[in-house]
Amino acid sequence: MPKAILYDSTMCVGCRLCEKACAEHHTLPYNDDIAKEEKLSAHKLTAITTHGDKFMRRFCMNCVSPTCASVCPVAALKKSALGPVTYDSTRCIGCRYCMLACPYQVPTYQWNNRLPVVKKCDMCADRVAMGLQTACAEACPTGATKFGERDELIAEARQRLAANPGQYYSKIYGLEEVGGTSMLLLSAVPFEELGVKVSLPHEPLPMLTWHALSEIPTIVSVFGVLLGGVWWISHRKEEVAAAEQAEREKKS
């Protein structure tokens, strides 16, 4: 069954231990200066963002139908059955279409490396495969970031909303956005106030390009036959004209 993370913004105290644990697990540098950078980058795969007295967490949403995996021309990005969207840097050619396509602007690039690769949160795919929880969930002291089965976490989120309707903005973010995400968010205020994109369609984005791509066999066969036919007709005319000319010359 697919795993997920439930991030409850109302329980987050902004301690950034999740950031630190993430950096350690992915062998990235972490210090006070990096802690202050409230945005994702090639050296920061998750970020706590501050909005007055409230917090939000940025990370790869590990979508159920990931746009990045659908656009990658070399299948470097893949959705695993357990939930994580993984990235194989040995396949990547560096076209950065994943970065353009991602509705959450999550994948980041090592712009200053001579041989750069893409960096993004992979939901600790290696740990999850071993049956462990993600590094961030393990490090979270308040339970704001909770790891578990997606179904169970959805049920739990519903329960929290029902138990304390006054404390929450009544929506589980990630249930339907672009076809659903592995990261589920809860908040006290409307999500856009915490910098979360709320304008996204509920259909998985990969369908948009798939509709166009699935026309290819039709185009190939129709155009092939059509062009062949036009060629035959246009040259046939010439042949007929030549034959008629010869006929006339014979007669006269």
Binding site: A42, I93, Q105, W111, N112, R114, L213, L227, S234
Partner: protein
């Protein structure tokens, strides 16, 4: 045209080309030593810039004259266009080679450019574009190579190539249709990022039709340029009728654009005081003005006016591609992007390289007339419109 003027003008342009190339070489050095970060103004929020928007999207579109003319001559059997087929094929072939060159600058790991050929993802538009461009560049090489065979009088090789000509042309048209439209499909995946004046489910169709327009305009442009550079007779009647076809195609394209805007209810955006509105207006003007001009006999039968209109269409095309790939994305990206000098220098150097190779090829290969080539074809003497492929 006085031969002296011609030489002076050429050396002026050669000087410019040299400066541009030197700047391009230095920019390439910066790109190699400092990576994309040092050589571009791209960022995590804005991963695709001028190199994709101009060098790739415009480069491929401007090379569309190749398959359009190949189909006209070989499939529709309209023989008189043969006189300008070879330059169009050469333009297309060069265009694609330069697109691949530009891609080597833009890819983060250019030495893995071959990966899509062995590591498949059929769900990716980029994968399809990669395959189509690879195959079509091969087709163009095969369509062009008879010119080289002719130059060295390899009659046997010529005969073999001719046997495969029609299937090759058909394959070329199919591949072009696929990837010209697919370059538009690339942007289908960003419905919430691309400004609604440009985002439409019909992007593939829009890209295809506008590429046809650009291909025709480019053929007119390049015929006019070569007639000036080589003192070659201008095939005016041919170019005039191409100009008229271009007018019709442009009106089809404009109708499609506006009907689509109407259907999506996006026309009301035209009253918004935003940069996008002005850039959209500029782009549309660059299509509509030459469209009306080219319907007039005074314009399409006058070489200068015809050339001017074609140049306007080319600018309109470039404006469209940059609007889709750069300016239309900017607002949603949450950042500001303007290309760094290195991006511009590489782009200009690639354009200059294109002109230089085109000139070189025209000098040394039978592009405009089949061999035997008469030395110093005097200007004003029409080149007989003989079949271009000699046996």
């Amino acid at each position: 045209m006085m031969p002296n003027d011609n030489r002076q003008q050429l050396s002026f342009w050669q000087a410019i080309a040299t400066v541009v190339m030197v700047a391009g070489f230095y920019a390439s050095y910066v790109r190699i030593t400092q990576g994309l970060g040092g050589a571009t103004n791209l960022s995590d929020q804005f991963p695709w810039g001028l190199w994709i928007g101009f060098d790739i999207l415009c480069g491929v579109g401007l090379a569309a004259g190749g398959f359009t003319l190949a189909a006209t001559v070989h499939i529709f059997n309209i023989e008189r266009y043969k006189a300008i087929l070879r330059p169009a094929i050469l333009t297309a072939f060069l265009g694609y080679l330069l697109v691949v060159l530009a891609l080597m600058f833009d890819l983060g790991l250019p030495y893995r450019i071959w990966h899509p050929l062995v590591m498949w993802n059929p769900h990716s538009v980029m994968f399809e574009v990669g395959w189509c461009v690879t195959l079509y560049t091969t087709v163009l090489a095969l369509e062009f190579v008879p010119v080289v065979f002719e130059r060295f009088r390899w009659t046997k090789a010529l005969k073999i190539m001719r046997a495969f000509l029609i299937p090759l042309v058909i394959l070329g048209v199919i591949l072009s249709t696929l990837h010209q439209s697919s370059l538009g499909s690339l942007y289908l995946i960003v419905p919430e990022k691309l400004y609604p004046l440009w985002y439409t489910p019909l992007l593939p169709l829009m890209f295809f039709v506008s590429a046809l327009c650009a291909g025709l305009a480019m053929t007119i442009f390049e015929s006019w340029q070569s007639s000036k550079a080589f003192g070659k007779h201008l095939e005016l009647p041919l170019l005039s009728s191409m100009g008229r076809v271009l007018a019709v195609l442009l009106s089809v394209y404009m109708t499609l654009r506006f009907v689509d805007l109407w259907n999506r209810g996006a026309l009301r955006l035209l009253v918004a005081r935003r940069t996008e509105t002005y850039l959209f207006a500029l782009e549309i003007a660059l299509f509509v003005v030459p469209m009306f001009l080219l319907f007039r006999k005074r314009v399409y039968s006058n070489p200068h006016a015809l050339y001017g209109s074609a140049v306007l269409v080319l600018f309109g095309f470039v404006a469209n591609r940059l609007n889709v790939s750069v300016t239309g994305i900017e607002a949603a990206s949450g950042t500001y992007y303007f290309p760094k000098w290195t991006e511009i220098a590489v782009t200009l150097a690639i354009v200059a390289l294109g002109f230089t190779i085109f000139r070189f090829a025209c000098k040394h290969l039978p592009i405009f007339a089949p061999l035997p080539v008469v030395e110093r074809v005097p200007s004003r003497v029409p080149v007989p419109s003989v079949p271009v492929e000699a046996d």
